[in-house]
């Protein structure tokens, strides 16, 4: 039987991350991929409403405390030193890297930012 172990980093406590949910898909504009690319600026109003500025769009969202938290699992690939003379362990492992208890949901349509157009004189 296939057995996949999901193990926790230990009782030292898990980091808490945040989930952000956006409509649509993410694509890289350049072939160099996404790493290092800016997504946008995240602000909160004094009332606690999240505001995301992405390119020429503003998105208004809300904070949701998740009834069912998420665990972020990273697949563990054994390094050279973890293999013994019989080879690397064949069972798959995931490490719980963080927990997510809050989500920032943006589901309204983005509002385009209209920049000032210089008036004709």
């Amino acid at each position: 039987m296939v057995q996949i172990v999901i193990s926790s980093a230990g009782a030292g406590g898990l980091a808490e991350w945040v989930l952000m949910e956006l409509q649509g898909e993410i694509e890289a504009r350049h072939s160099t991929g996404l790493a290092g690319n800016l997504l946008g600026d995240l602000h909160y109003t004094t009332e606690g409403i999240p505001v995301l500025i992405v390119g020429h769009h503003i998105l208004y969202g809300k904070i949701i405390h998740l009834e069912k938290p998420f665990a972020v699992l990273v697949k563990y690939t054994p390094g050279e030193q973890d293999c013994d003379e019989l080879g690397c362990e064949s069972s798959t492992r995931y490490l719980v890297t963080a927990l997510i208890k809050n989500k920032i949901l943006f589901k309204t349509r983005p509002k385009p930012i209209i920049t000032n157009v210089p008036k004709k004189v």
């Binding site: 989930l19 898909e25 790493a35 290092g36 800016l38 602000h43 904070i63 938290p69 990273v74 963080a98």
Partner: protein, 386 residues
């Protein structure tokens, strides 16, 4: 969404964007996150939706396991619970962001108008979803019945080619949590012999039980107060002490020993024929149990079925553990045995299907159709039975 390739490091740039967007900084919290994509997780990353109880287990450092053969639906097990595991797709994109703060947290901290440079760890449009389910334990009995224990002297024990299972072996084969497996082993009266879990062959188990009941009778002990050491001393020469002790443990619990013994005796009688005349059976049954015990038909729930429509009335062996595990298959099988059931008769045969949120009534509503017969409510199949 196509992210741009510029970094924004300065507060000034963020403020400019706010101005362009016509947002009033006075209405915003002073701190802002500048979100950019990180280098990408080295390796597969996925999200697992947790029940709050599981969240606590992980935080305490415990592990979870996903189990399943290629042809089985995968399950996830904690130490004591089993969950169905499914992949949920969403049409949205989910980004997971370390170090991102929510307003509650920002308000508690000092109000610097700083930029929090935040790296997005990864994103996905899928996550794993869990739903608590019944552990898949039918296989457990099937495995242990492959090689029942007939006593240390039996020829079978000398042949080591027969399959035997340790606790570890069972964890490898059964889609259930360890605690659920251990509980079921107790229910099955399984015994750990030489490190392997064994189910006693029925006749051998009855032989052991008979030794004990005869001794209890002759010494006029109460079944709930059998002196262990005396019992082992007297019966030791006949059978291994561990086996006597095991039998006592299974049958000697105060509140169930009478029911359990009567039930086992009934099974012994019923398994020798297809069906029995009910009246004759009840007489023989009462005579076969130890002095002082009273037989009752309700002791046979999930073990035998009475047919009061036939003439004469009959009783026959029908063990719930031999019926299919799946809900629809179980009902199909019961309805092909008997067209119409009262709730009282069918309940013991569907009780084990009830999960956290399903009652016997709910199952009957889902899988059966009710009607009145001679003033009594009966259930029959919703589908035609072939």
């Amino acid at each position: 969404i196509s992210p741009k390739k510029t970094y924004r490091w300065t507060r000034a740039e963020v403020d400019t964007t706010l101005q362009t967007a016509k947002l009033d900084a006075a209405e915003l919290l002073p701190a802002a996150h500048c979100l950019r994509f990180g280098p990408g997780a080295a390796g597969d990353v996925c999200l697992l939706e947790l029940e709050p109880a599981l969240c606590g287990r992980l935080q305490a450092g415990h592990s979870l396991e996903i189990r399943g053969d290629k042809d089985e639906q995968a399950v996830l097990c904690s130490e004591d619970k089993t969950y169905d595991l499914k992949v949920a797709d969403t049409s949205n994109v989910l980004l997971f962001i370390p170090g991102c703060k929510i307003p509650e947290q920002l308000k508690m901290e000092e109000t610097h108008s700083n930029i929090i440079q935040t790296e997005i760890f990864g994103f996905s449009n899928k996550y794993w979803e869990l739903r608590r389910c019944r552990p898949k334990l039918k296989k457990l009995k099937k495995l242990l019945m492959e090689n029942t224990y007939e006593g240390p002297g039996s020829e079978k024990e000398k042949d080591s080619s027969h399959l035997k299972y340790t606790t570890e072996d069972l964890l490898d084969q059964i889609q259930a949590s360890e605690e659920e497996i251990m509980t079921q082993l107790q229910v099955l009266n399984a015994c750990e012999i030489g490190g392997y879990w064994r189910i006693l062959e029925f006749d051998y188990e009855m032989k052991l039980l008979n030794h004990i009941t005869q001794l209890v009778d002759s010494e006029s002990w109460s079944f709930s107060k059998v002196p262990l050491n005396t019992c082992l001393q007297e019966l030791g020469p006949l059978e291994p002490e561990e086996m006597i002790e095991h039998c006592l443990r299974c049958y000697g619990k105060k509140y169930t020993e009478e029911d359990k013994i009567c039930r086992a005796t009934a099974q012994m009688l019923l398994q020798n024929a297809v069906k029995f005349n009910l009246a004759e059976f009840q007489e023989v049954w009462q005579q076969s149990v130890p002095e002082g015990m009273t037989t009752r038909l309700d002791q046979l729930q999930g073990l035998a079925l009475v047919d009061r429509q036939s003439r004469p009335e009959i009783i026959f062996l029908l063990k719930v553990e031999n019926l299919p595990e799946g809900d629809q298959e179980r009902f199909s099988s019961l309805f092909s045995l008997r067209e119409k059931w009262t709730e009282e008769d069918i309940a013991p045969y569907i009780q084990d299907l009830c999960g956290e949120k399903q009652t016997v009534g709910a199952l009957l509503t889902k899988y059966a159709r009710s009607s009145m017969q001679n003033g009594v409510k009966v259930y029959n199949s919703r589908r035609p039975i072939s």
